[in-house]
């Protein structure tokens, strides 16, 4: 919204501060001036001031016009703001008053109508003091149209009151404000033929709808250069009724903007006089007195509201200390509220000396309703920055979220493993949702999605992770290591309605390309399944659990997630509960995302952990064990196995020996070579023996070795000779 300082100063001749100071003072009081554009002096003698670009919060519609801002300036500087008044020539008597009837009493609170006859529709000029139409419009770069239109625009810019001028001769009978009839037709000023709804509020005559009340006038009763007689409308419509009508027709006009946020009930006669005065300056006369139909209930809700009680002690309780020691006094409160248009009747309790007021509220400030609203006005006009900076007394102890430490442990493990933290979209397409959801039936669709690709709430972090991996590869960033800690969603439906949406924390990670090592001397190695398995193991190891294991299922069982390679993926299980899946991305899904495996060579590794399940376990608390003083002894076993025998079998066979002195064993190397039999592979097993209380003797070691060879033999391995 644009405001001319020249126009403001016309209302406040005593205003001494310059435009820059005025802008700052207004801004600090919440009437924000976003930009100041000085206007040149066309002939060197006239100071045209500046144009302010304003940004006014929606609750302050009363200040979205010149007079409203002048009122704020008057309050800030303690100036007297003259009342708006426009003198009109005496009316010639009418045979009978122009008929106006408000049928929709809940929606239309006031309707004023004035009949002007023998007017001349033509060019606007600067008609009289207070109606400098040509000057102000030129400075505002507001287009001049015809005086009837310019007059309503001028009243809008001056006081923010929408008005409308009808071609009187096209009105049949009189005015009725009513609900539209379903299917009724109306061509509005924008030239659109509209079919009305029974909920639309219209200004009609005795035959037809003339305009959408408070939104837009009608085409057929529009003022034209041929118009001779005019009916000037200035009214008050209910905010909700106007909003609904405007919404239904997809319209947002100046008029609807104001009415939706609450217009000034008392402004209609003043605006009507201003519009009429401008029109009559070009000739014509008034027929009859102003017709002013009012609904008492609406007036009670606006211009005649019950006074609000305000206590000085409450002002202090809410606002606290000021920088100035005197602080907010009774005089401050009275000066501020009076300047804003309130009426104050003070009283003082004889016993306590407590000062309070009964405050009547201005008709243009429908946002003021309660004691707190008045306290805000006091603080605002006094100036927020004149209050002190104090700190409240300290409360009780600080509590962290119960899972904060666990989340930090997971995040820390991934960061240490070289993965960057990412934040992906909360949404995915319905197809991706179906592909990755643990329970596809529970995917939650959005009612108004941003796009089809973002049609549902993500049931898994995998779609987002895949999108981010593909994005990197498309940008020729070929080493990707990402993880995301985020919320996934699942819904339960009741009779077809999404009833409840459950949110669970999850972890997803993805890797492609080189391991996180940067070396000038050693060739890099690509991520493979066991690298991400190691990460999963390290994450799980942060939690206290009796057992963790990994398994997979035959493809035909339909248990493996479809996005994973069925033979290069695993389920992670902690204490018997599935906590996640990970492995190589299914080549079909890689292709679908245009991840060209030939170009990128390396496999895409991806996984997801269900943190809600993991977080049920306590974090592992480290416990120190006595370190043996006796020499550990390592023995290596070179084993040959059939391809069908997996490590887990060998591992279990050794574990079942339960040799206390066998403190550690692991695979040192797996290799395949031509000297082995067909379908065989070799495995180097390293075992470490150590006792807590003695040095192991050679014959003891021999015994252990024999038992190990025997056990792995039974499990399907033979010693390589």
């Amino acid at each position: 919204m644009k405001i001319l300082t020249k126009w403001l100063r016309a209302y406040l001749p005593g205003l001494a501060d310059d435009d820059a100071q005025l802008a700052e003072d207004l801004t600090l009081r919440g009437i924000a001036v976003e930009g100041i554009y000085p206007l040149g002096e066309p002939n060197g003698s006239i100071d045209n001031g500046s144009v302010y670009e304003m940004d006014i919060t929606t609750n302050r519609v009363d200040a979205m016009n010149h007079y409203g801002i002048a009122r704020e300036a008057a309050a800030i500087y303690g100036l007297k703001l003259p009342e708006l008044r426009y003198a009109l020539p005496d009316a010639r008597p009418a045979g009978k008053p122009f008929p106006v009837r408000i049928e929709a009493e809940d929606e239309c609170g006031r309707f004023t109508a004035r009949v002007l006859r023998d007017v001349t529709i033509g060019e606007s000029r600067d008609w009289f003091a207070g109606a400098e139409v040509a000057t102000y419009f030129a400075l505002l770069e507001q287009k001049m149209i015809l005086n009837a239109v310019d007059a309503t625009n001028f009243a809008w810019l001056a006081m923010g009151q929408p008005t409308h001028a009808f071609d009187l001769d096209k009105i049949e009978g009189g005015i009725v404000v009513r609900r539209a009839r379903k299917g009724e037709r109306l061509k509005t000023l924008d030239g659109v033929e509209r079919v009305l709804d029974a909920d639309d509020l219209v200004v009609a005559d005795h035959k037809k709808a003339l305009g959408l009340a408070g939104v837009m006038g009608g085409w057929d009763t529009m003022i034209t250069p041929e118009t001779k007689n005019v009916l000037v409308e200035a009214a008050w419509f209910d905010p909700v009724a106007v909003r609904q009508t405007a919404r239904r027709h997809g319209l947002h006009t100046d008029a609807s903007h104001r009415f939706e946020r609450g217009a000034d009930f008392n402004a209609a006669p003043v605006a009507s006089a201003l519009v009429s005065a401008i029109l009559l300056a070009n000739g014509g006369w008034i027929e009859g007195e102003l017709v002013d139909a009012r609904i008492a209930a609406a007036e009670d809700r606006t211009a005649r509201r019950k006074p609000v009680q305000l206590k000085l002690s409450e002002v202090w309780r809410i606002l606290g200390a000021t920088e100035n020691e005197e602080g907010i006094t009774a005089a401050t409160v009275e000066a501020v509220l009076t300047a804003l248009g309130c009426g104050l009747a003070s009283s003082q309790r004889p016993t306590t000396g407590e000062v309070s007021w009964s405050v009547t509220l201005p008709s243009w400030r429908l946002d003021l309703e309660r004691e707190i609203d008045l306290i805000e006005e006091v603080a605002r006009v006094y100036g927020y920055n004149r209050f002190a900076n104090t700190l409240p007394a300290f409360g009780e102890g600080v509590r962290a979220l119960p899972w904060a430490e666990k989340e930090a442990a997971v995040r820390g493990t991934l960061l240490a493993a070289g993965f960057h933290e990412a934040i992906g979209s909360s949404f995915c397409s319905a197809d991706e949702g179906a592909l990755t959801a643990p329970q596809p039936a529970q995917v939650v669709p959005l009612g108004n999605p941003l796009s089809e690709e973002a049609g549902v709430l993500r049931p898994s972090l995998v779609p987002g992770m895949l999108a981010m991996i593909a994005g990197n590869l498309n940008r020729d960033v070929n080493d990707v290591r990402l993880f995301e800690l985020g919320t996934v969603f699942g819904g339960t439906t009741d009779k077809g309605m999404a009833d409840k949406v459950e949110e669970r924390p999850a972890l997803a990670f993805g890797a492609v390309g080189s391991l996180p090592e940067e070396s000038a001397l050693h060739a890099s190695r690509a991520f493979e399944f066991h690298d991400v398995k190691g990460v999963v193991e390290q994450v799980l190891a942060r939690f206290e659990m009796r057992a963790m294991y990994f398994d997979r299922f035959p493809a035909e069982a339909g248990i493996m997630p479809e996005w994973l390679h069925p033979y290069r993926a695993a389920r992670a299980v902690a204490d018997g509960v599935t906590v996640g899946w990970f492995g190589q991305l299914h080549p079909r899904e890689a292709a679908a995302r245009k991840i060209d495996t030939r170009r990128h060579g390396d496999a895409v590794l991806i996984g997801e952990l269900y943190l809600d399940r993991l977080y049920k376990l306590p974090l592992r608390r480290p416990v120190a064990r006595e370190i043996s003083r006796y020499q550990p002894v390592r023995r290596d076993f070179s084993l040959v196995l059939d391809e069908s025998v997996e490590w887990e079998t060998i591992d279990r066979a050794i574990a079942e020996l339960r040799i206390p002195e066998l403190v550690e064993w692991r695979v040192r190397e797996v290799f395949r070579d031509a000297r082995l039999g067909k379908g065989e592979y070799a495995l180097l097993l390293g075992a470490t023996f150590q006792a807590q209380d003695r040095t192991l003797r050679e014959e003891e070691l021999q015994g252990f070795q024999t038992r190990v060879v025997e056990a792995v033999g039974k499990a399907g391995a033979r010693l390589r000779v």
């Binding site: 409240p392 960061l415 001397l521």
Partner: protein, 368 residues
């Protein structure tokens, strides 16, 4: 550095023995002086102390055997003394390590870059959010969180956005499908701000309350350089007896100094939020130019950073439905909220909000 073979000894009187052993010791010392590498040291050890062909072994084998019984003791004493000398020389050679020539042969290019085990980077949003939370934790604020999918009641109604309130329009809301037949207050939507957690917290806990609420929020916003349908907020709430507007000012002034440096100044402007009254926008003096005016602050010297205000009594009235202690006549409080992306963009010099959500390795690796 081969020494001549051990000569045979013919005379075993003290003088002869002294002479013979002195010659051997001189040889040993000479050999030891030229030891340059580990291999040299090992060769010295083998030459003198080797179990089979070592020179000392030979001495003991040949001289001791040939000595008459009355000379054996004198020879033994001298032999042991020599052995000690040789062992001492060996120890000294081992401790001294290889000489410069040997070390030079092992030279490497230390200007080649170091091998790095790369670690991951915390997301700048996480990092910024933790930093903000940390500042308020130090002021006695606990952390609160709530669901990302909210009901209309918590997101709007209880935050004093009644049905049909125009301020609802400004928060373009993403809604869950299939909610039309439900009562408005139960309809599910993606929270447009973290404020609903204020209400959830007050329902759970009577005053005093002091919480800071980090979280993800969503709006049906078209994406551009500074707008994203996904973003993060940190909200705060402090309720107790005697909490005032000046407490709000002091708290945020302190927090902004803690986040951006003690030279930062704050400025409060009247604003409007349905759930606070009085409401304020807070500006900090530009952290780039110190308030002189620059491109970043559009020459104003100030940067708008957060919204805040005193909790509206209407909000307390909703809380009082479950916790009657939220009586606006007895208690008061303030709330504030800030956009994490905006703060992170300022702190790290990021120009596109979309960078936060693209998972671009090149972007993220800058935050290690």
């Amino acid at each position: 550095m081969t020494n001549e073979a051990i000569p045979n000894l013919t005379a075993f009187d003290d003088t002869a023995l002294d002479k013979a052993f002195a010659a051997l010791e001189a040889q040993a010392r000479e050999s030891a002086a030229g030891l340059d590498s580990e291999a040299d040291v090992e060769a010295f050890r083998l030459e003198w102390l080797g179990r089979k062909q070592g020179r000392l072994n030979e001495v003991s084998g040949r001289w001791l055997k040939a000595a008459p019984p009355e000379a054996k003791k004198a020879l033994g004493v001298r032999f042991n003394a020599l052995k000690e000398v040789v062992e001492g020389l060996l120890d000294a050679a081992l401790a001294g390590g290889p000489g410069d020539a040997a070390l030079k042969a092992e030279a490497i290019d230390i200007t080649l870059p170091g091998t790095r085990r790369l670690t991951g980077a915390e997301h700048p949003i996480t990092r910024t959010m933790n930093e903000i939370v940390g500042v308020f934790a130090a002021l006695g604020y606990s952390v609160g969180v709530g669901p990302e999918v909210e009901t209309d009641y918590y997101n709007f109604e209880s935050m004093n956005f009644p049905p049909g309130h125009p301020a609802r329009d400004t928060q373009d809301t993403l809604v869950v499908a299939g909610q039309d037949r439900k009562p408005l207050r139960d309809r599910l939507l993606l929270r447009t701000h973290t404020s609903p957690v204020q209400m959830r917290t007050m329902e759970q806990q009577p005053p005093p309350v002091r919480i800071v609420i980090p979280g993800k929020v969503h709006r049906n916003d078209a994406a551009d350089a500074t707008h994203s349908p996904i973003f993060h907020q940190v909200e705060g709430l402090c309720v107790d007896a005697n909490i005032t507007f000046s407490d709000l000012k002091g708290t945020l002034d302190h927090a902004m100094k803690a986040l951006f440096g003690s030279a930062v100044k704050t400025r409060f402007f009247p604003s409007f939020f349905p759930f606070t009254e009085p409401s304020a926008d807070v500006q900090i003096s530009c952290i780039f130019c110190g308030g002189k005016g620059c491109r970043k602050c559009k020459q104003s010297g100030w940067i708008e950073l957060l919204g805040c205000g005193m909790v509206d009594p209407a909000v307390f009235a909703f809380a009082a439905e479950k916790q009657p202690a939220y009586d606006a006549k007895q208690i008061s409080g303030f709330a504030f909220g800030m956009g994490v992306e905006r703060i992170a963009m300022m702190k790290y010099g990021i120009s596109e909000i979309g960078s936060f959500f693209a998972g671009d390795m090149r972007f993220l690796s800058q935050f290690v």
